[in-house]
Amino acid sequence: MFLALLIALIAVFVVAYLLGASRARALSGGDPARLHSLPSYHGSYVAIAAALPAFLLLIVWSIAAPIIADRMVLGQFTDAIAGMTQPEAEAFLRDARAIAFGGIVGFTDATKEAAAEFYSGIRTTTNTILILIMAALALGGGYLATRSQTAEKRTRQVVERVMMIVLIACSVVAILTTIGIVLSLIFESIRFFQKVPFTEFLFGLQWSPQTALRADQVGSAGAFGAVPLFVGTLLITTIAIAVAAPIGLLSAIYLSDYAGKRFRAAAKPVLEVLAGIPTVVYGFFAALTVAPFFRRSGEAVGLTVSSESALAAGIVMGIMIIPFVSSLSDDVINAVPQTLRDGSAGLGATKSETIRKVILPAALPGIVSALILAISRAIGETMIVVMAAGLAANLTINPLEAVTTVTVQIVTLLIGDQEFDSAKTLAAFALGLVLFGVTLVLNFIALRVVQRYREQYD
């Protein structure tokens, strides 16, 4: 229904556009300069007037109609619902809708059948009303718009204004979504902290979220001290940055100041392909190639390396974030004005002296923010650590042992069927909130640093 009406509206839009444009051409009498606005603006103006009100109505109706229908059914069947609890009433409505419009029905009875009948009655009536109103809006809008078309009509301003409103609406959608995600994280986390004290979560040294089904089972209490996860995350991130920072930065310097134009044009996209490899593929690589390699090498020199180690995960993650560091650093190094390079060369400095003493200090804020962005990317990375770092919440800083990270635990907490009122499941939201907070702060710092850096040269 919705789709059919949408397609009809698109057709209205196209027809109205052609109509408006051709009317404008007729008004110009063959001399386009007589029109205030171009015919295309006239076309858009008529099209917007015809299609936009009907479209807005369709959106509002689609959201509001089911709610109103529910209310009406509830009003009609007060007697049947009087004895039900809130979830039972919801189940009743759900089943009635399923009977009326198709779907999975729990069980059926006479009252539900009646409610279903009522539902489809409402649906038919409202759809008819909707179509009639939309048609009236489209015709009326289109008619009024064509009536108001004159050579002097300032349709360009109208179209530009509508464009702006559309753009604002789209940005608002994006912002509201973000706010919604954050709010849901916060509310679920509050529920978690009602079960587990905040201090225990942040400072506890024991992580063992498995709660038993029966009270007499071993480990039934569950422990929610997240410190081992934080330490594990920190350890792997540190290893990753230790790999990515030097390799990324030095390759960025080579690309920006040493490489020839042709080599640079070829090498930069190749380096950026690294960023396009799915992280799950990096995960295979870490778990099947790198981790066994480290274990064998470790054994050869007499070290005990567990088959899933922080080192393997950290190094592969470091390789994954090299393009972030190198691409962003390359951009900021290139943004350092050529005049500074010339100035330094003109004093008899060699290339490497110029880079060490002039370019890098000048680009340092940008490089730091590139590193911070890479760090926040590494902290949020999941697949590699799931596959290569293990699940054991060891509190250790030995990179040869298995550790686990915040993201890995979120995954394991939510895998499979879950009850969404146990501390175990809710812990995932608390961890998610911490993760979100940390990366938000890091990104914020990085952006601020970049901004201050930009002001220096622009």
Binding site: K261, L340, D342, S344, G346, L347, G348, E353, K357, V358
Partner: protein
């Protein structure tokens, strides 16, 4: 100084005054410059005399900046740029293979069109050159070099209380004098200036011009300028470039009052360019 090279830069040149003969600091002979396939300079012969200011003038794109950048091999940094012919500094070909370009640039300093102080403190800007060339043995010595250079560039009095503040915070004219101080600090023999005043207001320009006249006692200066008044004010000799050719070179007074070539005459009277 070698006394055997005689001046034959241009057949139209007026005879140089007796005391100036045979004191060439730099000589260019048959210099051609190519950017890729495009030739930017054709067969340029020019002498640069010690302790003088020589102006290179000419319309945009005439090759005067290209020639200037040949004198300290700054063209090396441009991809596809090729220089043929001979450019000598104290009778030593600076394009010879055995020559260290770093040493050439230390001896032939450069000041650019747009002031380009490093994003460091005023002190560090001036100390940069001496540091990379290892010219000083102690902190005290370095400080002395910095102060002397700033004094010679006429900037010391204005900045002596804030040597640690960033060089980029100075005004345009002060920045340009800082760049001159930075160039002086490496004790060059020749200073190249590529339109050093084009980004400055008239007062800052007057200061730099004054400075050039003082610097002439210790250094040899080559300046590219679009302002013929500036060329007339600051230089002893003037060379006019047009379409990649050196058209005429001679004493500034003679070039501006009695040019030998019609094109020079047309340019300085404002008929083109």
């Amino acid at each position: 100084m070698d006394a055997t090279i005689t001046t034959e830069a241009s057949p139209t040149e007026a005879p140089a005054p007796a005391e100036l003969v045979n004191n060439q600091k730099m000589t260019a002979r048959k210099v051609d410059v190519f950017y890729g396939d495009k030739q930017a300079l054709f067969d340029v012969d020019l002498d640069i005399h010690e302790h003088q200011v020589i102006s290179l003038i000419g319309p945009s794109g005439c090759g005067k900046s290209t020639f200037l950048r040949c004198l300290n091999r700054m063209n090396d940094t441009i991809d596809g740029c090729r220089v043929t012919g001979a450019i000598e500094l104290d009778d030593q070909d600076i394009y010879e293979k055995s020559i260290d370009v770093v040493e050439i640039r230390a001896r032939v300093g450069m000041v650019f069109q747009k002031p380009n102080p490093f994003p460091k403190s005023i002190y560090e800007n001036v100390a940069y050159g001496p540091r990379i060339h290892g010219m000083t043995r102690s902190k005290a010595e370095l400080e002395e070099v910095v102060v002397t250079s700033l004094q010679r560039a006429g900037l010391f009095e204005e900045v002596k209380d804030r040597l640690e503040s960033p060089g980029t915070g100075l005004s345009g004219g002060q920045q340009q004098r800082l760049c001159i101080a930075r160039a002086i600090a490496v004790s060059p023999e020749v200073i190249l200036m590529d339109e050093p005043c084009s980004a400055l207001d008239p007062i800052a320009t007057a200061k730099i011009e004054e400075l050039m006249d003082e610097l002439r006692t210790n250094y040899t200066i080559v300046i590219v300028t679009h302002s013929m008044q500036q060329a007339a004010r600051v230089s002893q000799r003037t060379a006019f470039f047009h379409l990649g050719y050196l058209v005429e070179e001679g004493e500034t007074d003679q070039i501006f009052t009695n040019p030998q070539d019609d094109r020079t005459h047309d340019y300085i009277t404002g008929r083109f360019g």
